[in-house]
């Protein structure tokens, strides 16, 4: 396992960092999509998310990471031996779904080795099983094969993975948070998949020379000696993790003010956003932000700050509109607050 670049050492890109922190605090926001120019630390930042995740309790030996307190009724492992389930602590899993993956590894299939050698028909769980109660990360998500996208959409909607292949008939729980990154210039994301992401952070090339110099310096230092580099940032990283643990604990006790709810509804209305995912995402994100900053109530200011992240990707595409989507959200925001 190679060392990954520390989250706190990423220069600039505040919007991206905020989106990732909010996702860690409240996974139910629906994950985050990061898009932007090539070479702007998209993957670096998303990979760094794994360093910030809290611990969770899972059933020992369960390939589906069941919660020891309440194992999923669908779980093939835990439902068979309800008597004595041993619990262990581990960090929330982040599972990589690489582009060249084949369907059998994503949904799971017959364990071919055991089938050929022992003649046993055993189910070998796939990536969706491993990602249950965790994050599923897809780099270059806009380039993912269509049939895999269909499959993901199905499972993401139902929270259950149904496998009907090679004589197997299996269902197991698969509730995960999608995290993706990509460059829209390489091809667009299917709208249905785009809508699945709670937040969408757009990142741009930093044009400030001194910031760019700093980026190069840190990258060079990291490549030269990753261990020493990470050590240098370990206390800042630990501090951030501490803040996050507190925010996660505080989050269920944070309330949302009426004004904040009104603003969220008003924004979705003005931007003519279909469905209610937008309102849910913006409200949850505002609550998470409030929790992060130690507030007890989410107020319009919180809504305002997360609006571009939660709403911009839900706008209807208009080819004749010259402004970028997040700029449109900011414009409407100014209108709604006026």
């Amino acid at each position: 396992m190679q060392q990954s670049f520390p989250f706190v050492a990423i220069v600039g890109q505040e919007e991206l960092k905020l989106a990732i922190l909010l996702t860690v605090i409240d996974p139910s926001i629906g994950g985050v999509l990061v898009t932007g120019h090539r070479g702007t630390a998209k993957s670096t930042a998303v990979r760094a998310l794994a360093q910030l995740l809290p611990m969770t309790t899972v059933v020992a030996g369960c390939p589906y990471n069941c919660d020891a307190a309440s194992p999923a009724p669908d779980c093939l492992h835990c439902s068979r031996k309800t008597s004595n389930l041993k619990a262990i602590r581990r960090t929330v899993p982040v599972v990589d779904l690489p582009l060249g993956a084949t369907e059998d590894r994503v949904v799971g299939s017959v364990d071919i080795e055991r089938a050929l050698i022992d003649g046993v028909q055993a189910f070998s769980p796939g990536l969706l099983a491993a990602a249950h109660r965790g994050f599923l990360y897809i780099d270059e998500v806009n380039l993912l094969e269509d049939h895999l996208v269909d499959l993901l959409l199905d499972v993401a909607a139902s929270g259950v993975n149904v496998v009907e292949r090679e004589g197997l008939s299996i269902r197991h729980p698969a509730r995960f948070v999608l995290v993706g990154s990509g460059n829209p210039e390489e091809g667009d994301l299917r709208p249905q998949l785009l809508d699945r992401f709670g937040l969408h952070a757009r990142i741009r090339t930093v044009s400030d020379v001194s910031q760019r110099v700093e980026i190069v310096k840190r990258r060079l230092a990291f490549e030269t000696d990753p261990v020493a580099f990470c050590k240098r940032y370990s206390s800042a990283q630990a501090k951030l993790r501490g803040t996050l643990v507190k925010a996660i604990a505080r989050r269920p006790h944070v309330e949302v003010s009426n004004e904040a709810l009104l603003l969220a509804a008003r924004l979705c209305d003005l931007l003519a956003i279909d469905g209610h995912r937008g309102e849910l995402a913006i409200t949850r994100a505002a609550l998470a932000l409030a929790a992060y900053e130690g507030a007890t109530t989410a107020v319009p200011e919180h809504v305002k700050r997360v609006a571009p992240l939660a709403l911009a990707h839900r706008l209807r595409k208009d080819p004749l509109e010259p402004a970028a989507d997040d700029e449109r959200v900011r414009r409407v925001l100014a209108e709604a607050l006026a």
Binding site: G100, E166, D188, T205, V209, L320
Partner: protein, 580 residues
């Protein structure tokens, strides 16, 4: 030393530069150079990535024969895994199938691949140096792939006859004495440079200068800044200097930054980007790439002066600049020939490709029941799984919009609307669109073949209008775009021509000969199998019949739609692509 060989040495010295790609026409000595890297690095092996390489060959997988024989899982390494620790050669990297290019760039970036295929889950180390080449006349590689290779070298065009001769000699007789001597000498230089590389000093001011140059040239992302710093130090080490000098900075700019330029530094920000600054500008959007700031220009001035003359040529021929950027290396290519393997279904072997793994999987559960003899597998006809392919490449719609005359902007709006409507469908059909405008003397490609709504939105809105109607030039550009698309597997190309006039500007012909010349080109277009839809938007009822005539020459369809809406145009285009 000439630039291409210097680039090779730099990569040999500094693996963190990841790769070098040579850009030039056939016969410019690219191949000979590519093989040179392995010569420079004794003991380092070289692996060739064949163009038609499929995912299985690229990534490796289960070795069935050995697995069955030994009764345990045996894994065969793929091309990328075999290249670990060595040199990977990729010729014509612009023609790689999309899946291949995506996998390759991931491997190059991370030095490691995650493979989740055919029941196997593993990590494979892929630390290699990549040497690539392509001929820009055959289309551009994906900018993503190119961006991950540190050095981009344009081959000197039409080299001196001496240089050409020595390339030929080397090719004919690689053990030529002089060449051997040169290799020996270069290896010696490398060895010395290697010991001093870590100590080469790159001052903070020099770093700043490189970053400022990147900003001034509108380079996207931050990978290039890093490559530039590494390149400057490598260049100094190779010249046996202990600190970076001005000429090293120039080398870095020439090989790393200049090829990635998206604008001329003295120009304003590119017209197609830069949304108007929001009234209330929060932190992140203040960092957005606007025009180059004056202080970055000042910092970069000296370097930019030195390379100034090379810039326009680079902007014209390399893929990063906005005006020429193409979404290349696209879906299709070798995959397009028979499509992409999407599923395995029960079937018979007649003329089909068997999916061995899926077949074994299907048979495996029944082995006990079938009273399997030790070591042998019982297969029955119903176990057979055949591969079902889906042709990946869809159709390419080329929209050519007449920008002469008064209704030009309106026509352009309608065309953009139609293109957008087609792109929404493209999610399903894998179609692509290109957009060009024509007026006065020439036709311009505003949007190279793409399926990105994002790029469409950014494509220029404000096109110059007025002037004559150069239909011949338009058809020629169409042919060029269509030929490139065909090489990438787009069999079905539809030209949608929106015009209200008759051709009055020829390529070479005088006014009287314009029609004949146009007819000649139109017949060629028809002969290449392009489908054409000519939409006549003129409002006067007195038709000159020019539109009908051209449509007839093109073997295409003629539609008179003086107030055509975008939906109607998109529908007509869809109908045209559906007709055989």
């Amino acid at each position: 030393m000439d630039t291409p060989r210097l680039a090779l040495l730099m990569l040999a010295l500094e693996p963190r530069l990841r790769g070098v790609v040579f850009v030039g026409p056939p016969g410019s000595g690219k191949s000979a150079l590519m093989h040179g890297l392995a010569d420079l690095l004794p003991g380092v092996h070289q692996v060739v990535l064949p163009l038609g390489c499929d995912q299985e060959a690229l990534l490796g997988g289960l070795d069935l024969e050995a697995t069955l024989q030994r009764g345990e899982r045996v894994i065969r390494n793929g091309v990328l895994g075999r290249a670990d620790g060595g040199v990977l050669l990729v010729e014509a990297c612009n023609l790689l199938a999309e899946g291949t290019a995506n996998t390759l760039l991931g491997a190059l970036e991370d030095g490691e691949l995650r493979i989740e295929r055919d029941g196997l889950s593993r990590r494979v180390a892929t630390r290699f140096r990549l040497v690539g080449s392509y001929d820009p006349a055959e289309g551009q590689p994906r900018a993503h792939l190119l961006d991950r290779m540190g050095l981009i070298v344009r081959m000197p065009s039409a080299g001196t006859s001496d240089a050409r001769l020595s390339i030929v000699e080397r090719h004919l007789n690689p053990t030529l004495r002089a060449w051997q001597d040169e290799i020996e000498m270069l290896r010696g230089v490398l060895e010395v440079a290697r010991t001093s590389l870590d100590a080469v000093e790159l001052t903070a001011e020099q770093q700043q200068e490189l970053c400022a140059t990147a900003v001034a040239l509108g380079v996207q992302g931050h990978r290039a800044d890093l490559f530039a710093c590494l390149a400057a130090r490598a260049s100094a080490a190779l010249a046996l200097r202990d600190s970076v000098q001005r000429e090293d900075l120039e080398v870095a700019v020439r090989l790393v930054l200049l090829p990635r330029a998206t604008r001329h530094p003295t120009q304003e920000s590119p017209p197609s980007e830069s949304p108007p600054p929001p009234q209330e500008s929060p932190e992140p959007s203040a960092t957005e790439a606007q025009g180059p700031s004056t202080d970055s220009l000042e910092m970069a001035e000296e370097i930019l002066d030195a390379v100034d003359t090379e810039l326009p040529a680079v902007l014209e021929t390399l893929p990063f600049s906005r005006s020429r950027r193409s979404r290349a290396g696209s879906r299709g290519s070798t995959e397009g020939v028979r499509g992409r393997h999407v599923a395995s279904v029960p079937g018979t072997l007649k003329g089909q490709r068997i999916d061995v793994i899926a077949t074994l999987r299907a048979a495996a559960p029944w082995q006990r029941v079938r009273a399997r003899r030790q070591g042998n597998l019982t297969l029955r006809a119903e176990d057979i799984r055949i591969k079902r392919y889906k042709s990946k490449a869809g159709a390419l719609f080329i929209f050519a919009v007449d920008a002469s005359g008064s209704m030009a902007l309106n026509r352009m709006r309608q065309a953009k609307g139609a293109v957008h409507s087609l792109l929404e469908q493209a999610y399903v059909n894998r179609d692509k669109v290109a957009l060009m405008s024509f007026r006065a003397q020439s036709a311009d490609l505003l949007l190279p073949p793409t399926s990105s709504v994002e790029l469409l939105r950014r494509a220029v809105d404000q096109i110059p209008t007025g002037g004559g109607t150069p239909l011949a030039a338009t058809l020629l550009l169409t042919l060029e775009v269509a030929e490139q698309a065909k090489r990438k597997g787009y069999g079905n190309v539809v030209l949608v021509l929106l015009t209200d006039g008759r051709a009055n500007i020829g390529l070479r012909a005088e006014r009287a000969g314009v029609d004949d010349e146009l007819q000649g080109i139109a017949v060629t277009v028809a002969a290449r199998g392009l489908k054409t839809l000519l939409i006549d938007t003129q409002r006067s009822f007195v038709s000159h019949g020019a539109g009908q005539k051209l449509a007839r020459w093109l073997g295409g369809e003629y539609l008179y739609m003086p107030s055509a809406g975008s939906a109607a145009i998109a529908n007509a285009a869809r109908t045209a692509v559906a007709t055989p």
